[in-house]
């Protein structure tokens, strides 16, 4: 459905050093440096997938989204999406996609949300029945009924984002590009947005490409991630593969009751094979377990023989850390 082959894009950036003298100098001659925003990016995305597109700031995520949505023309390479070349067939192509730029707004600031929706209906020429059906469905799933008559400037960020997402789906797109849809949202709004993205993917079969810095988004939504850094494609694979490659470690936090022979038992806990004690103080022990070497139940059994355990929690390595490891591995 989406194919990118060897896409490259570079920008010319004017540079000068600080200070008035340099500012004056730049009036006459400017130095430009070329920034390679995208360098030979290729991937294929099948219909119905949710793909998390990640990378540090300035990696080229937004540039890729802009090329895929027909806004920017790449310097080289090919891109075919649903049989179209986005920037060449822009006017026809864009009816099939919806785009949300988390940091921008597509709604008219001073008029009620519904007015913006009706404008989009006319711009995309959505047939009246289809529009009504979509609006009803979106209003229900995103809980917009109280927001539609409110001017956009009076909405909270979370409310506005829900409206933004609804706005980009009024014309039934087959592909949805989300550029940081959860930026700045509180936990409740994030959950609502994630839930909704999953719903439209499952119910309508919308293909979703999502960029984000919030790894929980990825964890909750994407079964595949594509990671880029400095314009190069670094990883393209399943989240679970990535986890098994980097995520064999679990953290166990144990609360225990102190007793008289505590020093001795603490010492024996430290001796247990396959674990690493991260901290041990104030009736709490934090252990790092490598599940390749030992398994969780063994560790728990041994520890409970030694200590009077009150509470236990087990967490897998957060995906942030996996991604940080990846960044490190690729020296970003």
């Amino acid at each position: 459905m989406i194919e990118l082959h060897h896409i490259s894009k570079s920008f010319k950036v004017a540079r000068r050093s600080s200070g008035i003298a340099n500012a004056f100098k730049s009036l006459f001659s400017r130095e430009y440096t070329t920034v390679q925003a995208l360098d030979d990016i290729s991937f294929t995305i099948k219909s119905g997938e949710i793909v998390g597109y990640i990378g540090p700031n300035g990696a080229g995520k937004s540039t890729t989204i802009k090329i895929m949505s027909g806004i920017l023309v790449p310097d080289g390479g090919e891109c075919r999406i649903m049989g179209y070349t986005p920037w060449r067939d822009r006017a026809t192509y864009v009816r099939h996609i919806g785009v949300v730029f988390g940091q921008r707004t597509q709604l008219w600031w001073d008029v009620p949300v519904i007015d913006s929706f009706e404008l989009l209906r006319d711009i995309y020429k959505v047939p009246p029945q289809e529009y009504r059906r979509n609006l009803e469905h979106l209003t229900e799933t995103l809980e917009l009924s109280n927001l539609l008559r409110t001017p956009v400037r009076q909405l909270s960020l979370g409310q506005r984002m829900r409206c933004e997402i609804a706005a980009s789906l009024l014309h039934n797109p087959d592909i949805l590009f989300l550029d940081e849809p959860t930026i700045g949202l509180d936990a409740v709004s994030k959950l609502a947005v994630r839930q909704f993205i999953r719903t439209i993917n499952e119910e309508r079969g919308v293909t979703v490409i999502l960029t984000t810095h919030d790894m929980h988004d990825i964890e909750a939504l994407a079964n595949r991630i594509i990671m880029i850094g400095r314009g190069k494609l670094l990883v393209d694979g399943k989240l679970s593969d990535l986890r098994s490659r980097f995520g064999s470690q679990k953290t166990i936090t144990i609360d225990f009751r102190s007793s008289q022979d505590e020093p001795a038992s603490v010492a024996s806990v430290r001796e247990l094979p396959g674990i690493q004690v991260l901290s041990m103080a104030n009736e709490r022990a934090v252990l790092l377990v490598d599940t390749d070497q030992t398994n969780i139940s063994d560790v728990l059994g041994q520890v409970s023989n030694l200590l009077e355990v009150v509470d236990v929690s087990i967490t897998s390595q957060p995906i942030e850390e996996i991604v940080l490891n990846l960044y490190k591995e690729h020296q970003l």
Binding site: G58, K66, G70, I71, V73, V94, D115, E118, L119
Partner: protein, 303 residues
């Protein structure tokens, strides 16, 4: 819409092989021309309702325009009473000319700007506009037109009504004749269309300069002088008047007002309306070309 239109101009030669395997056309049935205008009308409508909200601004505008009108008329009255030669336009005609300028300020002033469009370009919000089907030139044209219409609708009636009730020499005349009135309305609206077409170039130039005020300043200083907004064109020396009408600006502001005042005869007015039409077609064609070129090199600002 038609996909063939944009293909030949694309810069990427590596894609040429794909140009002919036509994309799936699932939506062709609803793309017939008659409905194409609707989306621009919708943009026009929302912008109009949006702008009509600003009543207080309009009230303040009306007051300012009255102030300016009185100042200008006082100055011209003084000039006329001291003048030894016979001016080419009579004082009552000139007074009417001034009041019309003030009433339809939004139709004639180049500095009347849409900051939202500027912000769109300089902050990169244009990204959204670019992923809509349809023609960006058309959308922006509709927006600018609506904004000016709304502003004029709110301001012109109070000014015209009060000005036509004022004592002499401040009173605004009625149109010279019914035909003049009709011709005036046509000329005024065509003038508005020409002006919006001119102002589109300001917005397009911002793609290159990234500085709305620089672009605006260049256009307004030259444009408003040539439109007779600083010195009414009929009071300019003949050689300058000839130069003024080599440019489109005079057709936006000066010409319709002189039709109203009866300073131009009916045949002259009809001839002028033809010229307006020619300018309109030329400016829109040029503007669309320029916009297409600007968009190809567009850099969406701010990540």
């Amino acid at each position: 819409m038609n996909t063939g239109k944009e293909k030949p101009q694309s810069a990427q030669s590596s894609q040429v092989q794909h140009a002919n395997d036509g994309p799936p056309r699932t939506h062709t049935a609803i793309n017939r021309p008659p409905r194409n205008l609707k989306r621009y009308v919708s943009v026009f409508r929302i912008r109009l309702t949006y702008s009509l909200q600003y009543r207080t601004a309009a009230l303040a505008g009306v007051a300012t325009q009255f102030f300016w009108g009185f100042v200008l008329i006082m100055v011209y009255t003084a000039f006329y009473s001291a003048s030894s030669s016979d001016p080419s336009i009579s004082l009552p005609q000139l007074v009417t000319y001034v009041w019309l300028q003030q009433s339809f300020l939004a139709f004639v002033m180049l500095w009347f700007r849409d900051d939202e469009l500027f912000r769109l370009i300089t902050t990169g919000n244009i990204a959204y506009e670019l992923c809509r089907p349809g023609d960006l030139y058309g959308f922006w044209y509709a927006k600018l037109l609506a904004q000016r219409m709304a502003s004029a609708l709110l301001r012109c009636f109070p000014i015209m009504i009060v000005a036509s009730l004022l004592p002499q020499p401040y009173r605004m005349m009625l149109p010279a004749s019914l035909v003049s009135a009709g011709l005036f309305i046509i000329a005024l609206l065509l003038g508005l269309l020409v002006l919006v077409a001119i102002s589109m170039f300001i917005y397009i130039s911002v793609f290159y300069t990234m500085s709305p005020y620089g672009s605006l300043l260049m256009f307004t200083v030259i444009g408003e002088f040539l439109a007779g907004l600083i010195i009414p064109v009929p009071l300019m020396p003949d050689w300058l008047q000839d130069i003024v009408y080599l440019f489109p600006f005079g057709w936006t502001a000066d010409f319709p007002f002189r039709v109203y005042a009866g300073h131009f005869g009916h045949t002259e007015a009809l001839f002028g309306i033809m010229s307006q039409l020619i300018w309109l077609v030329a400016l829109v064609t040029l503007g669309r070309q320029a916009m297409k070129k600007a968009l190809r090199r567009v850099v969406v600002q701010g990540g």
